[in-house]
Structure formats: structure tokens, C-alpha cells
Symmetry: C2
Subunit: 701 residues, 2 copies
Amino acid sequence: MTANSNAPASTPESRQAGDLQNERSQITFSTDDASCVFAGSREARDRNRWLLSLLRDHPDKVFDKDSRPFLGRTERFLRGQKVAQAYYELRNKHGLQKEDRDRLRLLLDEYIPLQVHESMGQPTIESQSSPEQLQEWGPKVSSGRWLVCYAQTELAHGSNLSGLRTTATLDTGSDTWIIDTPEPSAGKCWIGGSGMTTTHAIVMAQMSINNKSFGMHPFLVPMRDPETHKLLPGVFAMDMGPKVGAPAMDNGYITFDHVSIPRQNLMGKFQHVDKDGKYETRNQAAKALTRGAMTLVRVGLIEIAAHHAARATLVATRYSLVRRQGSSKGGAEPQILDYSSVQQRLFTCLSTSWALNFVGQHMRSIYNDLQSALQKGDASLLGTVHGFTSILKACATFQGLDVVETARRSMGGHGYSAASGLTDLERNQPTAGLTYEGDNHMLLCGPAANFLVKTLDSDKRPVRRELDFLFDKPRFDVTKPHEWLDEERQLYLLGSRAAKLVRDLSALRREAKDAATLAYLESALSSRASRAAGSYLILYAFNARLSLLRSASAESIVGIKPAAELLRALEDLRSFYVLEACVLRDVGDFVESGLLEAEQVSWARQTAAHLALRLRKQAIGLAEAADMDDWYLGSPLGHSDGRAYERMIDWMRLEPLNQQGLSGGRDEDGVLKGFRQAMGRLTHGEAQHFNGEAAARDSRL
Amino acid sequence: MTANSNAPASTPESRQAGDLQNERSQITFSTDDASCVFAGSREARDRNRWLLSLLRDHPDKVFDKDSRPFLGRTERFLRGQKVAQAYYELRNKHGLQKEDRDRLRLLLDEYIPLQVHESMGQPTIESQSSPEQLQEWGPKVSSGRWLVCYAQTELAHGSNLSGLRTTATLDTGSDTWIIDTPEPSAGKCWIGGSGMTTTHAIVMAQMSINNKSFGMHPFLVPMRDPETHKLLPGVFAMDMGPKVGAPAMDNGYITFDHVSIPRQNLMGKFQHVDKDGKYETRNQAAKALTRGAMTLVRVGLIEIAAHHAARATLVATRYSLVRRQGSSKGGAEPQILDYSSVQQRLFTCLSTSWALNFVGQHMRSIYNDLQSALQKGDASLLGTVHGFTSILKACATFQGLDVVETARRSMGGHGYSAASGLTDLERNQPTAGLTYEGDNHMLLCGPAANFLVKTLDSDKRPVRRELDFLFDKPRFDVTKPHEWLDEERQLYLLGSRAAKLVRDLSALRREAKDAATLAYLESALSSRASRAAGSYLILYAFNARLSLLRSASAESIVGIKPAAELLRALEDLRSFYVLEACVLRDVGDFVESGLLEAEQVSWARQTAAHLALRLRKQAIGLAEAADMDDWYLGSPLGHSDGRAYERMIDWMRLEPLNQQGLSGGRDEDGVLKGFRQAMGRLTHGEAQHFNGEAAARDSRL
């Protein structure tokens, strides 16, 4: 073989870079503009770039990921400690606020042990401390002298908080709380950062004073010695072992054996216990307002789902353009993205990632509205935001994971290689996102569905226009194929479907007969109704964003004035999302309820086919609008220069099994260490030869 | 905390063992009988147990998996070498035949580097060698002196074999073939066992004699020195690096730099080249028959998909019975399996795993029919078996992975822990199965759909009764809810739907207008038609198996006479599969085509709800019929004794991050190694404090 980077033009590798350039030259809009739209604004796009540069250009290269796919869990964990420390230095140095910090942690591309300190520990200290506590604890927590985990769930209890069994018993004699884990299954479990790292835990425990129970309350419990970092007496904590993703995170299992903490360590903003054991509540009006903060976590999960969906789509789209396969008919083989089956899957990924991105932005702005209102003491939006985020957290994380997996699988055999840059990704946040902050199935069947039924059955008109669909007349009047492209008709259709299912659910819940099967029917219908409402809300947000982009204020808000070609591409994407990811995927809902006839469904399929032809030409621009650079992607196969094959070979060389030396898999001759003692026994004829007699005699024992 | 295994009856852990025992006591059939039915016969069940005992009871414990979840890839690979060697000794010692060997490798629960040697290397040597080659090579290959990989796909070419670029050029002067990799992207890629292990490769290469091309042919190429195991001159091979699953497998990337091999190393059964370069074909009639062997690999994949589906279902079902959560209303909290949403998901898993299991057995028996016919020179079944396996390989692996993931996710937060025993599993065969031996999407759109259309459009009646549905009149006459339970009606419905889609596809393929969108429509319809046919075939097989079980010959074939209660449970399972996994999942197909009205769909939902109530009582028996012991499952959470919480805690202690010593994560004080130098800088106040000024100044850069 002649290893020659100037290989003749006929080799696959020599064609790849040109394939991508060629695609880019054909896009009819500005990818730079599209990236501003995707990020929300030019300002946001540039801010994201600056945040990423803090990591990429770090002088110690501590955030580099080249070797990461080849690390075992222990090494990966130890690397994560350095990443966490360097991250914390950056966030302190630049005085980053919450939104920037959240973004920067996302860009770390690694769950760090400080994740929960940042997302739950510090916010809880700041929002639930008494003024005295805050003065003492606040600076320690924000500087990182104290690292605080949030210890709520137990081994035997997750979602049912009233079932938690850890106790906090007041000992008036010593003026302390005794924190105790009554049995092993009451150990705090999955507590992020607690296994090896955190110095303190906010422990949710059943409060007991003079044999009277006061229910769950938060306590600040020191875990480790500030000087030596050894566990304090009575505290036991360990890492929970390997799991799906998050190798650098020490999710911990913690038990307390009659651990004494000062009485003053009960979080004091909303309650107080004096030294005689007198309990009183405080600031109860403000307490209700803290519920708003909970919904912010879910808004973040929607944004994160969109981010990873866009990332996977970008990688898979590029690779589908540089990978050629199939009948060549004399010329070059076709690009994989020229296959309809790949288009159907990848354009569904592409349109979904934009749709999730826009609904994330929409929810963020509703959340901001909520916060402004709460500042003024108006909590009327709270229930709606809670309902929306219950629906959309579940729908966005389901759809986001689906995109990541579909995109990776579209890459064929090489999609199984970590050189795709997606194998590790999909096992992290996108998979865990289905379960944390509320299991999706439970959310859809419970709070999401309850919110929808309650809104429908209420006398009052809803506070947000997004919910008007529940009260609209069902209608869908596509009488010609091209009307499927009509924005209003699409929205009415999805709204009508969702409203119908919510009405059915409301009616079902009023039925009483045969309660046993009713529960099953209700659970299934709840899930369908909530998902249908999710599709509607996502489309609503997509359209709202398009409206803004078309409006006179686009330039002042987004920082660009989108050209007609970009708007048209986004409209195509929206219509494709409606057709492939909403209507055709759940076509039964529409036909069963009489909203669509067979002919209209057939037109929907034809329209999707037409849109696929148009999207084929713009695909690379719409994917690259996610604006993720190669350092961040860590994907030899999805690299922006298109040199997938050369990069994949270079990448394979990094595998430790190919290395010599102490941590490598080979001896000085390049032979696998230990081969002679294991499989070498076979090749040297030292193994038992095949026992033909046994085979004949023993064909059935 | 008092760690006390005799904890009072009110703790979660004290209830778990009793919960499982209680469930088992309520089953109305014999689980032993059910396990014989699941395995196919009592004989097969007992054979499986014996094979597993060879691993479980190995004196050196080499197959034990306790520490495996905690190993990094390199250690896992080195362990795999020992597993492979010990496996090979066992297979030789007991003279195991192919079916037993395949099963034993499945039970290893680890892809070993000898996988391809066994599944492709040895069979190719045996079926494609000339008599002289076989005499010389056969014994070396079967004893393990030669370890042979099968090198076909290249970095830039997988499915399009005609695009492969490795060359074999005859050099008449030296009487050798020159094997050459013309450019890096033509390196052989994903070649199982080649990275570190195999001594030889069967290399598929473009044969060239006197500048004339003869197309792809197989050559036996020595790779490594038999004495030292070093790579031979001109041969380069390396491990491809981390990927989804298969950590003990060295999928390799191989290049050849003008490597000479004897002319006699062209596999000689079907072609011969003499020393002057004269090419002649041989045994062409027999060559056609080897196509049958290809289908066997796909039959195996169906069986494997069923096996893992059953395994995941077993684990998740047990855990759903010992996990209690929710409103307790005074008594114990409900078991998770009492929630309708969990029932819907897990009973779909349970019924799918049985359905896949039966269709695997059905396909195995058709394959055996094919082999018998081929022995007599009758190849009339070949196309049908090829078509069936194309359809069913794709459907079974899709559904199988879906079951594994659904089951794992049903376990809530703990499903993310490797203590589930499923996190590693789902990333192995179930995920890879979608792509290898034909990417599922390509199979469904290509060979599967082509076979169906060809059968429909043919003048001849098909050779197997399974295909009669294509010619039946569509009908479905459910006029009352309970008729949904009727076996014949179910089968007609699925058959009618599949036939309708195949007819639509046949018609679409005859249309010529607007070819560009036609390709998109055709691809989508092909996939739907093939999947619909797959559902039909699976149901056909399920019914065929039930018929056998009801017949007088059940006892002689299966080894038990199934009691009425067992048959009824299996019928319930079948109906649940039809309703939830076929009809309601794809309800659009049925309603759009006019096969079902809204009222009938509503009855289907009610019927599924009724069935769920009945299955709830039998679930543990139907799941445990998979007959997988705890040693094999490796699942603390799905252990047969139900002590999930205690076992999970014990298991966490094995995590290396919790260990002291050289390979552990902690120092002698139990503190994380290196903590002081990384995050310890934060806790000791050596980090930059939060820069409030920067925060204020710099809120937008």
C-alpha cells in the first residue's frame, strides 16, 4: 500500500473534502445568518462562541477531549476532577451568571461532580437560607470552599417524597438535630457529587420534635472534614458504580448514623425551630414563588435536548455527504444523503432539532415573563408554566434522544465507532434526560395530562394564547395537496387533534364503571393527549419564531434581517416536521378521530416527498447553523473538513490496545500482552483438539 | 444507622423477598412447563442448562462476570482473551456442534475475538476449500492452531461489495498472488478478531490476471507469524478503538502492502487458477446452495434478539414487583407493576419476547426444511427463506432492542445503574444487530420489499402457506369487543393490512410520473409494507406454535403436555402482542386503509386493558419461563431472590473508586486520590474567588 495523501482523484478519501465544499457552495442562504437564528440572536451566538473559546483555548488544555474516548471510568473520573476545578476557576474569574454557567457546563461535554452543587446546592442555599445563614454560608458556597450536594432521593424512594425515611430528630439537650438513616434502603442515592467530592449535603429528612412529625425539611449537613476531606464520623458515602453515561460524576450513596448537626442547620428561610423545639413557619408567601425555580430546570432540559439533537444531526449530515455507497453507473457512487430512506430519517432529525430549539427559546421567554410577574407578586402564570414544562420536558427529551439515536444509526457501521463522536454522547444527558426531573411517562400521564384536563374543564379562559386550541372548533380543510404547506392549517390540525384527545380524557375520567380497566385506558390516553399537546406547542413556538423573523423587529431582536431564502428553508423545515414527525408518525390519531381522510394522508406523504427534495439542497446549511466547532464535536467522522476516512484512521491509532508501554496493550514486538498464555495456547497446539468422538457420541446429552 | 438484616417487616428491603415469593405462589400454571415451551422443548431447555453449567461451574471461574462492569476496555479485552481460550477448550473437549457452539458463545455474554473465526472463518474454510485445501487447512482451523477472520468490508465500502478496492493480482513469475490495499480507505475494516488475535484472514479481493479483472474472490492470507504472533511483512493490523459494545472484540483495520501469498491460497472449491493464469469455475451448482448458509446467520439473529428481549423483560419484571412506590393509603406502597403505564410497557415487552422467541423457532424449522431440500438438490425454498429472513431479521432486531430499552427504562432511576445488568447488554448485540448482516432500513426497503412484491406479482402460488395472505380477500369482521381475542380474526387483520401495503407498493413501483418524489414515497412504503409483513409472520408463527401445543403431538415434540391455564396465558400474551405491539402501535395503517373503524379501535383498547389485568397475575411465571439463572443474568436488581436493595448496595462496594490500593480511587484515608491538587484547591480557598466586579461589568461581552 502506498500511503499517499496526494492520492489520485478517484479514491474515496480524495473526494471527501470537495464533497462538503460543493454542498456548501450550493446553499441559497447565509449560514452565518442561520446560525444567529438558531442561537436566538447574533449576540447569543457570539456569546456561545466566547464561552466555548474559554474551554478550547485554555492554556493547560485541560478541557481537550482527544484521549477521552479511550479512558476507563477511573481515569475519566480523575480527569473530570481537573475539568471541574478548571471550570470553577473560569466561572469565578469571569464572574459568570447562571445562564452563562449553565451553558459553559453544557459545553464541557462532561457531567462534573460540581453539576449539582451549581444547579441545586448553591441555589438552595441562596433561596432557602435565613439572612444569618446566607451571610455565613453564601460566600463559602459561591467561592467553592464548600461544595454542596442535594440529598433527597433514597435507594428505595425516588418520586414518592412522602415515602422518604431519613430522619432529623431534635435533641433539645444538646441543641442539635440527629440525622439518621434508619435502614440501608433509606440511604440517600444518586446524589450527584456526594460519592467522593462534596463537603456538605442538603439533606431532606423527616423532621421530628418531641415525637411529633413535621414532615420533610432541608438540613445542611457537613459531610467531609474541610482540612483532610475525610468523611466525618457517622457519615458514610460511596460512589454508586458504573451507570449509563456520566463517568466523571460521583453519584453517591450516603448514610448517616446518628449524625449531630447544630439546630441552626435547619434551612431557615421558610421555617424556624427554637431551642425549646417550637416550630414556626416563615415567609410562606415567598415560598410559593420558589416553585417557579423548579420549572427553570425543565426549561433547561428542553434546551439541552435541542442542543444534542442539533449536534448529532450535524455530525450525521456531514458524514452522509462524504460517504458514498452504491451503484456508480460509471461516475462516482451516490452520496448517502441521496437515498430517500436516509433523507426521511435525517431530515426528520434536522427539522426536529430546529423545532426543539425554537420551543426551548419560546419556553425560556415564557419563563422570563413568569419571573417578571413573580417579582411583582403575580403568580397567575405559575400553573401554566408548570404545565407547559411538564409536557415539553417529556416530549423534548423523548424526541431529542430519538434524534441522536436515529442520526447515529444513519451512519451505518461506522456509527457504532466512537469515532462518530456520538456513542458517548447518546449515553449521557439524552438518555438520562428521560428520567430525571420527573420520569417522562409519569409526567405525561400525571401532571401534564392533569394540567390539560384542568385547563379544559375550567371556567376561565387560559392565561396564555398557546392554550386556546383547547377551545377552538376542530377543523382541517386541506382540499388540495399544496395546502399541506399552509402554516395555519397545520396548526389547526395539531391543535384539533390535541383538543380532541384532552376532551376524550376529560370524559373518560368522569366515567366510573369498571375502574380496573379504566386505569389502563386512562393512562394510555393521558400519554397520547399530553404528547399531542406537546406537538402542538412545539409547532406553535416554531411559528411564533417565524413570525418574529418575518417582522420588522427581527433585526433589533435577532440581530439579522433574514433573507427570503432562509425563511423559506425554515418554513420547509417546519412543514417537514409537521408532516413526518407529527402527522405521519401518529397518523392513527388523526384518521381515527375523523380529522383526516385517506386522501389527505396520501397528499401529506407526497408533500413530504417534495419537501425532501428541497431540503436536500439546503441540508448542510441548516445543520451547520448549529455552529459547533470541531474541537467541541470531537467527531472524526463529522469533521467540518469532510476528511472522515483519514481522520478515522488517525483516531484509531490512539487506542491503547494499539500502544506499547506500560498502559498499552502490546509488548515491544507489537504482540498483544499475554497472548502466548491465553489464545497462544491454541495457536501453539497446546489446547485440547476437537473431540470428534464426543461430538458423535454426545450429540444429545 | 443500624445495618441489620433482620430489619423490622416495615422496611422496604425486608419486604422484597416475600413480594416475589407471593407472586410466584399465585401463578396458575407450572413455570417448569412454561420454560420447556419457551426453549422449544424440555430437551432443549435441559441442553441449555447443561451448556450454561459448563461456564458457571468452570473450576477456574474464568467466565464469572462479577467484576466485569467495573473493568475498563483494556482489562475487559484481556479478560476476553482468557474467556475465548477457555471457551475453545470447552467446545473442543465436548466436541460441540454448531448449534451448541452458537448457544455457548451466546451464554458467554461477551463477544470474543473468536466469534468470527467460528461464525465465518471456519465455515468458509469448510465450504469453499478444494479437497486438497480442506485436508491441509481443516484440522488446523478446527483445533484453533489457525484463527481465521473474514475480511470483506473496507473503510470506505460496506454494503456495496462491487465497490471494494483491495486487489489480488496474479504474478505468474513467482506463482503468487499479490494482495494489495491501494489506498488507506480500502483497508479492511470492522474485521472481527483481526486487530490483535487472528493468524489468518480470508480476504475478499478484486482478482486480476494479466490485467483482466475477474471480480471479487476469497483468498486465504496469513497475517501473523505462527511462532511469535508478530504481524508478517507487509501486513498491518490494529484494533479499531472503542465502539458501541463488544469491548472484548478486536474489530480490526487491516492493510496489505503488496503481500505475496501462494497461488494455491485462492479458495478453490468454486474456482481455480492454474500457474499460467487460466481461470476456471468449478462446482457452480453447489455454489448456489451455499446461499442457504447466509440465511442461517439471520435466523440466529432472530433467536438472539428474542433471547435478550426475554432477559431484559425478566429483570425488569422482577424489579417491578419488588419496587414499591406511591401513595400507600395506610398499607404498603403499590408495586410498580400495579401501575397501568408500567403494565402497558412491560407486558408489551413480555409478549414481544415470547413472540420473537416463537418466530425464531419457526424460522429455524423452515431453515431445517430448506437444508433437507437442498440436500436433495431442491432449491425451490431458497428465495422464500431469503425473503423471510430479510423481513424478520430487521423486524426482530428492531423489536428486540426496543424491548431491552423499554424494559431498562421501566426500572426508573436504578435502570441507569449497571446494577440492572442491562446497561452493558443493550449496547452489545441488540444495538449492533440493527446494522450487521444488512442494515435494517436497507433490508426492509430493499430485499424484503422486493421479495414481497415479487411474490405478489408472480403467477405461481407461493411455496409456503405463510405467504397466502397476499392473495386472501381483505377482511376483518369484529362486531363485538371480545372478538378481538379471536385468533383467526387477528391473523386476517394483520394479513389484510400487510397485503394491502404490498399491493400499494407494487402499484406505486409501476407508476412512472415524477420519479424524484416517487423514490421517497416508495422507500417509505417499502419499509411499512415489510414491517407489516413481519408482524403478520410473527403472529403466524405464534399461532403455529400454539396449535402444536394444543395438538396430540405436543408431548412427543415439546416434552410436556401444556395445561389449559398455560395455554390460556399464552393466548392472552399473543392477543396482547397483537393489540398493543401491532394494531395500536400502527393504528393509522389499519384505519387509513379502511380495515378498522374508530369503534373497533376503541374495543381494541378496552380488550388490551382487560388482558393486562389477566397478565398481571401471570407475569412472573411468563417472564421466568425464560429460565435464566442469576449467575447468567448478573443483575443485582433482577435477582431471583428479590433482595434488590441489599444486593445493589453490596454491588456498589465493588466500584474501584471506592477501593484503596494501587488500582483503587482512594488513598489510605479513604480520600479520593489527587483531590487535594484538583478540587481541594477550591475547598482550601486557593481558587479565584467569585469575581463580582466582572459579573457586573461583563454581563454581556
